[in-house]
Assembly symmetry: C2
Homo-oligomer: 518 residues x 2
């Protein structure tokens, strides 16, 4: 069979297409700046040319430290167009963590936003090798001068299995690991994202999700594939989100449930529902019934996705069945809380026991979610041992404990380490959380284990209440005992805002420390 | 880079996914028979098992001769699941033509619908090798007995570049050529089809397009990918189409403009517009202003695609720009008449001169459309010479003469052989056709060259009028002369129905013969 007429799958091809097809449509809005797809490609090609001129060779790593503005968007295309590898870094990390990533990835080029100038100064002192640091959005205008002066370049990747990006996991234990993304996987996941969200050139995608997080779930390329508008959001702020929703006609955004909560209960939401349905994809935790109900009132439709850095972002989708439209909101929330089925370009998710065999699809037997396919990482960079451990038999073990429903939908019961074993019985903290989340005053909740002399462990709940709502510890406990087994009810309830990571995940280890001192 | 975790791209994976995700939703409606995605996969897997049990080996060709019912739908998955190669044949062909295809492809298995029993008897007498012929829908119930009794099988293709199907071109000159489709290309084109048409599980796709034609433009797999319903249509009949539109809630169909014409002017259309917009993709010829206007009245949205058997069906799409919504219908028809830009998984179409260089994008300079990419055939089966001629430099020459517009949209001016050279001036027959199509009484038109002693060639128009509309030869000629250069006006106008191929293309060679006798 001939391969000569094949074209390697690469997500930068979407920009090239949209620059032709949607040349004069707005590609990027970044504050007062807005430019078209023709200009977007022009800037990315010039960025590629500039990097090559500065000595970046094919396969070299180029790190980026910037908020959700045009800088990482341009890097998502300009860096691969220089045949280099993008390392988009989490800007909430401290200088030693960032220095580790720059050191481990071997990035000798760093593009950073002026707002992180001090962080960069500090991290560069900790890196052993020379780094060509390029400041953007600063008073010197270095990045823009460089891009404007450069000749355009666009290297066609020869092998679609070449490395495209490294994404460092947040690393709750040990050092961060560099997850390898390839051109082929990102192309396919971007396509699936555009398909499932029904993105088209009339879409306006608000960047509430950090672009450094799994390369923005590959929507950095998927939104471009659709010829839609990237609406940048450097700081996640409810007031600003609502301003953009009302003024720029946002049609889509993605984010953790905490972002949804922020939007749903902001005073600006009181102005009423949005005129055109906003499609929201959420992940990291199941959306609560309260949030789903509020979102529906605001004419916002929430789709629940699931995935990890190791799977290019989303790998499953809680695919909606039309007949569920007639369910009550609490019932809809129950089905929507499930992580779902493999999305269009993924393989089906499995739930396996410790021997690697599928558990029964009975919604009861617990196992670990295992994933495979074209959108599974090519491994951890320079860490064959960790790779082998994570993917012992060709299937990636996610660390998420789940059941398989009879209809093939996966539902997470707990992260392995979040299981609460009380009096010999397993308590899935998520089950307790779901029960508490059903209380009308509750905005957000996390349940963790506290060591207990009598029971081994007992559940403790940390609860954030809705603005101006009130509830007592007894209210919450009674609410739970009315719904699930009594032994699963929390032994203590602590009210207040929950500690979270930069990507909106509740930091349960912080709560565990606090609970131990109760 | 690891490849072990990759999964070969194959369009049968869509059925496997939908059988899990949309297990209980209706996959196929074929007359009174309707079955779910779970049953659809079950049947296809059993068909694969049956073929293997009958001695079909990997790579063997399996021919199918059936109308647009469940038989070819099942074969589109069951044959590749047996690792065999599907040869879906045009049932309008005569026995000698079919025998040539069976002989050339070497198909030793033939699944056919009882309605073609006589044809099969005749063709088998003309084939040199033994053929295992399996009758479906006949009194003996052979096919269904075989499928029901077989054990399920589903061979995972090891190489996504393996052969998936052979599609024989209609062969206006010489013998039909067998166009090679691969798993990779069909997967990608099916995905693009689902994306562009926004197919989802609530969609009902009516099979007006023959499934033998480029494997139904890969919608055989694309509709399955979306978990939508395949609504079979064994005979293209306007009354039946309208019945299905009204009773089954059709949301999508594809076909040549002749199908659109048939639907638009059927008496059943007078009952008024459909409640939910029907998305229609058309190709083979540009939709006329009259049709577009009528379709809009009926709440049907027409998208113009372009492609060939050699490109897995659609390769370009007249991608709609939202600002065109405000154009008048004639203006919309003008932009919609263009073949457009590469669709999502294709490369951009080029227009090249005889040396293979791009012509200027000035909407004036003519050249030949050239295509490339993952959805270009892997060649003509057992015909390296024809392959090399068709793809001289890695770019497939389509034989369609076109211009490139400044906005990157391709527009066909003529098939090479349809150019009319009159008094030394080139006349693009399509330009004359467009002019005539703008006349309010005109339903369809074809313009061809007639030899002429004085001018070399002169244009002659064949015109079909709308029901109960009237027009004279002088009306048509005056209409043209008011719009384009006088020398381009037809020297004669003949009224009546146009001769067409089974896929709805006007048979210009028939008209040329007729015109020569005028």
């Amino acid at each position: 069979m001939r391969e000569a007429w094949d074209v390697p799958l690469t997500p930068t091809s979407f920009l090239d297409r949209s620059a032709l097809v949607f040349a004069d449509r707005v590609a990027v809005i970044d504050g007062d700046l807005r430019y078209t797809y023709r200009e977007f490609r022009e800037r990315c090609d010039r960025l590629a040319g500039a990097l090559i001129a500065r000595g970046v060779n094919p396969g070299d790593r180029v790190a980026v430290l910037a908020p959700n503005n045009r800088i990482p968007l341009e890097a998502h295309n300009g860096v691969p167009k220089a045949a280099a590898v993008l390392v988009a870094m989490n800007y909430r990390l401290a200088p030693p963590e960032l220095a580790y990533i720059v050191g481990h990835s071997g990035a000798r080029t760093l593009i950073y936003d002026h707002m992180f100038a001090d962080v960069v100064t500090a991290l560069l002192e900790l890196v052993d090798h020379e780094v060509d640091a390029i400041e953007a959005n600063g008073p010197g205008g270095e990045y823009d001068s460089m891009v404007t002066a450069a000749s355009p370049a666009s290297i066609q990747v020869a092998d679609e299995r070449a490395m495209l990006a490294l994404n460092y996991t947040s690393g709750t234990t040990g050092q961060p690991k560099g997850v390898i993304y390839r051109h082929r996987g990102a192309y396919l996941n971007a396509l699936a994202g555009a398909y499932h969200a029904k993105l088209d050139t009339s879409s306006v995608f608000l960047w509430t999700l950090p672009m450094f997080h799994c390369n923005g779930w590959c929507y950095t390329w998927g939104v471009t594939a659709a010829g839609a508008t990237h609406l940048c959001l450097p700081h996640v702020d409810a007031g600003e989100i609502w301003r953009l929703i009302r003024e720029e006609g946002v049609t889509h955004f993605n984010g953790a449930p905490t972002v949804l909560t922020m939007v749903a209960y902001d005073p600006a939401a009181d102005e009423g529902p949005v005129p055109r349905t906003i499609e929201i994809a959420t992940g990291g935790a199941p959306p609560s019934p309260a949030i789903l109900e509020r979102m529906a009132e605001l004419n916002m439709n929430v789709t629940h996705l699931y995935g990890l850095t190791e799977t290019y972002g989303p790998a499953t989708i809680c695919e909606w069945q039309p007949e569920w439209d007639s369910l009550s909101i609490p019932e809809q929330a129950q089905v929507k809380a499930r992580q779902g089925v493999g999305w269009l370009t993924s393989q089906q998710a499995r739930v396996v026991d410790e021997a690697g065999n599928d558990v029964a699809a009975d919604a009861e037997q617990m196992g670990e979610i295992a994933l495979q396919g074209n959108t599974l990482m090519a491994g951890y960079y320079k860490d064959a041992e960790a790779t082998d451990k994570a993917v012992p038999d060709g299937w990636f073990r996610t660390g998420d404990l789940a059941v398989m429903h009879p209809d093939g939908y996966v539902e997470i019961r707990d992260r392995s380490k979040d299981i609460i074993i009380s009096g010999g019985e397993n308590i899935a903290s998520i089950e307790v959380e779901q029960a508490i989340a059903g209380h009308p005053a509750v905005l957000e909740v996390a349940v963790i284990a506290r060591p207990d002399d009598k029971w081994g462990e007992v559940p403790v709940a940390y609860v954030g209440l809705k603005p101006s709502a009130t509830a007592t510890e007894a209210d919450i406990i009674d609410h739970v005992r009315e719904r699930i087994a009594h032994y699963k009810a929390p032994k203590a309830v602590v009210f207040g805002e929950l500690p979270k990571t930069s990507t909106g995940k509740v930091q349960k280890y912080v709560l565990r420390d606090r609970a131990a001192q109760l």
